[in-house]
């Protein structure tokens, strides 16, 4: 029974049909959460004692950074599932997640730089967190480049999954070594705040933004996966039927 369900989940066709139902809901929820979070965070949350208003960029920065990392692990897990159980859909999810993850990493770096200027007086600092974020961006870009370079999709899927897994083994090592390196060169001046050290009136909008980003991420990932499914399966009967019915 469970196996059957698993197999069905692996079918791109099944996923395409089911996700048509989820998509509007996901979009509505993420829009609601994001709008509430933005209005609350930017308009109503109090100013910070030292940084004034500039701290408000955390409402974008923190969720983006969290998802950039979580997105990589999602890629690694779906890549592993693809390699072990030979599930086509799982490879598609992995490849759909790569550009989104890269964009989020880039966003986290840019917002971090913008935040850094008024707060520590510099756009860029070779701090452990920033440096490892930059390396994460390179990992993402490498995976995307590999997936584009290999012309045969079947090979590209597996190769990217393997590279993602190798990267996963490396991420903690890279993080540890960059941390050691930067603490040797300078003290850890910029630390991510612990949830306890942020006042609740600032934390609730942040929580909303994080949840909103997660939903938005799920929506984007689903949308991108659907595009990849159509690209990959356009010769199949069900896609042809879909195309003729919708007259696209």
């Amino acid at each position: 029974m469970a196996w059957q369900w698993f197999n069905r989940l692996g079918s791109p066709r099944w996923f395409y049909q089911k996700s048509s139902v989820w998509m509007p809901w996901l979009a509505a929820i993420s829009l609601l959460l994001l709008i509430t979070g933005v209005v609350w965070g930017l308009g109503f949350a109090p100013q910070d004692a030292r940084q004034g208003n500039s701290y408000r960029i955390i409402y974008i920065h923190v969720p983006a950074a969290l998802l950039a990392l979580a997105g990589y692990y999602l890629m690694a897990i779906s890549g592993a599932i693809g390699l072990i159980w030979k599930m086509k859909l799982s490879f598609l999810v992995m490849r759909a997640a790569a550009p989104i993850g890269a964009a989020l990493t880039f966003a986290a770096l840019v917002t971090g730089a913008l935040w850094g200027k008024p707060t520590w007086g510099t756009y860029w600092d070779w701090d452990a967190r920033i440096t490892s974020m930059l390396i994460l961006l390179f990992l993402y870009l490498g995976i995307i480049a590999l997936s584009r370079a290999l012309s045969r999709q079947h090979t590209a899927d597996k190769a990217c999954a393997l590279l993602t897994l190798v990267g996963t083994v490396n991420i903690p090592i890279i993080y540890k070594s960059v941390d050691w390196w930067s603490s040797l060169h300078q003290p850890a001046t910029l630390k991510l705040m612990e949830p306890s050290s942020i006042h609740p009136s600032m934390f609730y909008p942040l929580l909303l933004m994080i949840l909103g980003f997660y939903c938005f991420y799920a929506w984007t990932l689903t949308a991108h996966t659907r595009i990849l499914i159509l690209q990959r399966e356009w010769r199949t009967q069900w896609v042809q039927q879909l195309l003729t019915c919708n007259k696209i």
Partner: protein
């Protein structure tokens, strides 16, 4: 000299050697022969390493203090690039002439063949780099305290680089021009080796011991020695299905 009568020419279960394929030392010998016969490919990474490093003082100015400050990082980054450049050819020849396909058909794990290749690759690139390092230290006005850690860290570190790079080489072997892509894939994975390699030299220059950095490099080396050939073997099987 004639062929054997019908039937006798077909193997039963007996002859094991040919079925299991060449042993590890045969693989090593063969790789070493191949490496030594491609002399230009052998010398080019070394020449690149030395030439670019010689350009550095010309570019940034010859102040001895500045050069001392930059020496560990520059030498290490150049060692990294030199290894990377030579990595592209690791599986290429065997892929193009079909012997990689033959290797993959053997019942023995690809781990052995891949490690033989990596070992020889390190012997002809990493080891000479480490041996050349005192000369470069001289060029860069490296204090006496830095020579030993530089040589040791290069010795261990280039082996790590060869191992990690083999995964990228195996993933891109089916591509016609993998050069830049290989660099893009592998560079992020090189970061820890670079940090601890140049860190060992810097620690020695700052007056501290460098055994911790070398221990980390050794840890990376042994872990990569176990995992990288496995991953590269899997990547070869993936690339063969292209």
């Amino acid at each position: 000299m004639g062929l054997k009568p019908p039937g006798a020419g077909i193997t039963g279960e007996a002859k094991c050697k040919r079925k299991i394929g060449p042993g590890f030392f045969t693989l090593l010998r063969c790789e070493l022969l191949l490496a030594l016969r491609r002399q230009s490919e052998l010398v080019n990474p070394l020449l690149f390493f030395v030439t670019v490093l010689a350009l550095m003082p010309i570019g940034i100015g010859p102040e001895p203090e500045l050069l001392t400050r930059l020496a560990p990082g520059l030498i290490w980054v150049m060692a990294l690039l030199a290894t990377l450049l030579s990595q592209e050819a690791l599986f290429r020849g065997d892929y193009e002439d079909g012997s990689l396909e033959q290797l993959a058909l053997l019942p023995q794990p690809l781990y052995f063949a891949v490690s033989a290749k990596i070992l020889i690759h390190w012997l002809v690139t990493g080891l000479p780099l480490a041996l050349l390092s005192p000369l470069l230290g001289l060029m860069f006005n490296l204090p006496i305290a830095g020579y030993l850690p530089l040589a040791f860290s290069l010795l261990l570190g280039t082996a790590c680089l060869s191992l990690i790079g083999s995964i990228g080489a195996a993933l891109t072997v089916a591509l016609r021009r993998p050069g830049l892509l290989l660099a893009l894939i592998i560079m992020p994975l090189y970061v820890p080796v670079l940090i601890f390699g140049s860190g060992a030299v810097q620690a020695a220059l700052d007056g501290y011991g460098y055994s911790m950095e070398l221990a980390v490099l050794a840890a990376i080396l042994t872990a990569a020695g176990a995992l990288a050939p496995l991953a590269a073997g899997a990547a070869i099987r993936i690339s063969l299905d292209h």
